[in-house]
């Protein structure tokens, strides 16, 4: 059984000139499936000098607005997502799972790779196992390439773990550990991230705003500095010895490679800061509105003649026994059991959801807590930034903890009183 590594793919080759000093750490507050925090970004280009604060409608972060708490497990795979292939009997299995907190963000690029491998054996018809964001996107990409597609899954996307993410473009959130992934994975990652970015842009402005950009404000009582995670020499264990990362420095980060397309954080001068907090930065960020996006993608799948079969799988042999002889395997965290892939490390995350507040269309981050106004609600996260990417690592308890969200709302509510509102 062969597992092709990410190094099998050619270099994207566009990254060399893209290095810079900026940071995407502020994005950590908005990572898919809830973040580990990680501080806020340093300033990039100067802000527009209007001399006065923008007119913002205040976000209501009160308990009476809390309508949901969702919890999920990110499938962090130490070496990065499995994009390899293997043959079982007469069936080609093309893997597409294990994207950590970056599944949404990398979905199109990852599907492009998987479908490319499927097409290489000239099938007329394929199966996709799994209907989260990776499986469904793979299915649609395969249909756009002219293939007949059947999805086999326990649930449609609305009830998968994908819908329990926070749904922001965070393409390097817990996507790999630096050492097991190796230097080559960065190129594959960049190719996936750039292609996905282009694909998501084709959804901007569509009815229901399946994808949109909003401004997010990082607020602080102290000057905002970039957060670093140097290796702690006191921690001697690592993924190699313990089977799971032991500290933040083990995580791979690649966002620097695409800073030419991703908006950077900018400092807001005091006169333009609408919030009652000394320091603020603004950053535009792309996010996905689950309800609209899921509906749009499923509609395309069915309009193109896609079939959905509701079923569960319990062994590799069952995939090989499907009538389709090319199978894209996209079961996410479930691959840990189904494929016996013990390099998948559970990373728990949770989000709270307030009643949608479309008139307050922005995000705020302060101390442990972030809010982001989205189509299907205002997402609330309360994640200790001192723990960083390690938050939730190894935790596969998938039950929500409402008290953490309530605590977070109490922390952030006082800073939401914007000037001029």
């Amino acid at each position: 059984m062969r597992e092709a590594g990410p190094g099998d793919f050619s270099r994207a080759g566009r990254r060399a000139v893209l290095r810079g000093a900026g940071s995407f750490a502020a994005m950590a507050g908005l990572q898919a499936c809830a973040p580990g925090g990680g501080g806020v970004a340093s300033a990039g280009s100067p802000p527009s000098a209007t001399g006065r604060p923008p007119s913002l409608v205040p976000l209501r972060a009160t308990l009476d607005q809390l309508i949901d708490v969702k919890c999920c497990i990110r499938p962090l795979r130490a070496a990065g997502p499995n994009l390899g292939t293997e043959v079982i009997g007469d069936t080609l299995i093309v893997h597409n799972y294990g994207h950590g907190g970056s599944g949404w963000s990398l979905s199109w690029g990852s599907a492009e790779i998987a479908v490319g491998k499927a097409l290489s054996v000239l099938p007329e018809e394929i199966a996709v196992v799994g209907c989260g964001i990776i499986g469904l996107t793979s299915a649609v990409v395969a249909q756009r390439a002219g293939l007949k597609v059947t999805i086999y899954a326990r649930e449609l996307i609305q009830r998968t773990r994908s819908f329990r993410a926070s749904g922001s473009f965070t393409p390097d959130s817990r996507v790999a550990l630096a050492e097991p992934a190796g230097p080559q994975f960065g190129d594959t990652w960049e190719r996936m991230a750039r292609l996905s970015w282009k694909a998501f842009r084709t959804y901007l402005g569509l009815p229901g705003n399946p994808v949109e950009f909003v401004d997010s404000y990082a607020l602080s009582d102290k000057p905002i500095e970039k957060r670093h995670w140097p290796a702690d020499p006191a921690i001697t264990g690592s993924f190699a010895t313990a089977g799971a990362p032991q500290q933040n420095s083990e995580f791979a980060h690649y966002n620097e490679r695409i800073k030419d397309i991703m908006p950077q954080a900018v400092d807001i001068p005091a006169a333009e800061n609408p919030f009652p907090v000394a320091y603020a930065q603004r950053q535009s960020a792309m996010h996905f509105n689950f309800a609209s996006y899921g509906h749009t993608l499923l509609s395309e799948f069915f309009e193109r003649g896609g079939h959905f079969v509701n079923r569960d799988f319990h062994s590799r042999a069952e995939l090989a026994a499907l009538p389709q002889k090319v199978v894209i395997h996209a079961t996410g965290y479930a691959a840990r059991d189904l494929w016996g892939d013990r390099t998948i490390i559970p990373v728990r995350g949770q989000t709270g959801w307030l009643v949608p507040q479309h008139e307050a269309n922005y995000g705020v981050r302060y101390r442990n807590v972030s809010l982001l106004s989205k189509g299907d609600g205002v997402v609330v996260m309360n994640n200790n930034p001192d723990i960083g990417e390690m938050l939730g690592v190894g935790n596969s308890l998938e039950l929500p903890d409402r008290s953490a969200i309530e605590e977070g709302l109490a922390i952030i509510a006082p800073v939401l009183r914007v000037r001029g509102a």
Binding site: R159, R164, S396
Partner: protein, 153 residues
């Protein structure tokens, strides 16, 4: 409450046509998959180890699978050993592999009982008992299972 009544209650709670399945279940048929004692013990274990996620009546949530309804469709036709192996390997999700083998047997017995699969004299757990396939639901499938000798299905 007896195991049978619990099973029936669970089925009713799940909105299934539970009465037909429960009625077709022989009380101590040779063709059963587990003993009534195992299922009864399993009920308590389920409450302790499983109910926090899957719910006290196996009803599940929007996110977490129910252990009725679709569960029957999922496991019917498969060897009961597959179900046991899955529970042993993957459950509970927050501590997979933490159930002792006899605990797994009893929890599986409870799940089978709650879904109308028949009990019998032979405890679930030994080699041959795990090879038998779970019959399709419905009076005919269940009745055939209840009437069968071990090894026939």
């Amino acid at each position: 409450m007896t195991v049978a009544r619990k099973a029936a209650a669970a089925l009713v709670a799940a909105g299934m046509a539970g009465s037909a399945l429960a009625a077709a279940r022989g009380p101590a048929a040779e063709g059963g998959f587990y003993t009534a004692q195992q299922a009864s013990d399993g009920s308590a274990l389920y409450a302790e180890r499983c109910a926090a996620c899957h719910g006290p009546a196996l009803e599940g949530t929007w996110e977490i699978p129910a252990l009725t309804g679709k569960f029957v469709a999922n496991w019917a036709g498969r060897p009961v050993g597959d179900l046991k192996a899955y529970v042993a390997r993957a459950m509970p999700q927050f501590a997979p592999g933490s159930l002792a083998p006899d605990e797994t047997d009893r929890i599986v017995a409870y799940l089978l009982s709650a879904n109308g699969w028949p009990s019998g004299a032979t405890p679930l757990g030994s080699g041959a008992t795990l090879d038998r396939r779970l019959p399709a639901p419905g009076p005919r499938g269940m009745a055939a299972a209840a009437a069968a000798k071990p090894g026939e299905l």
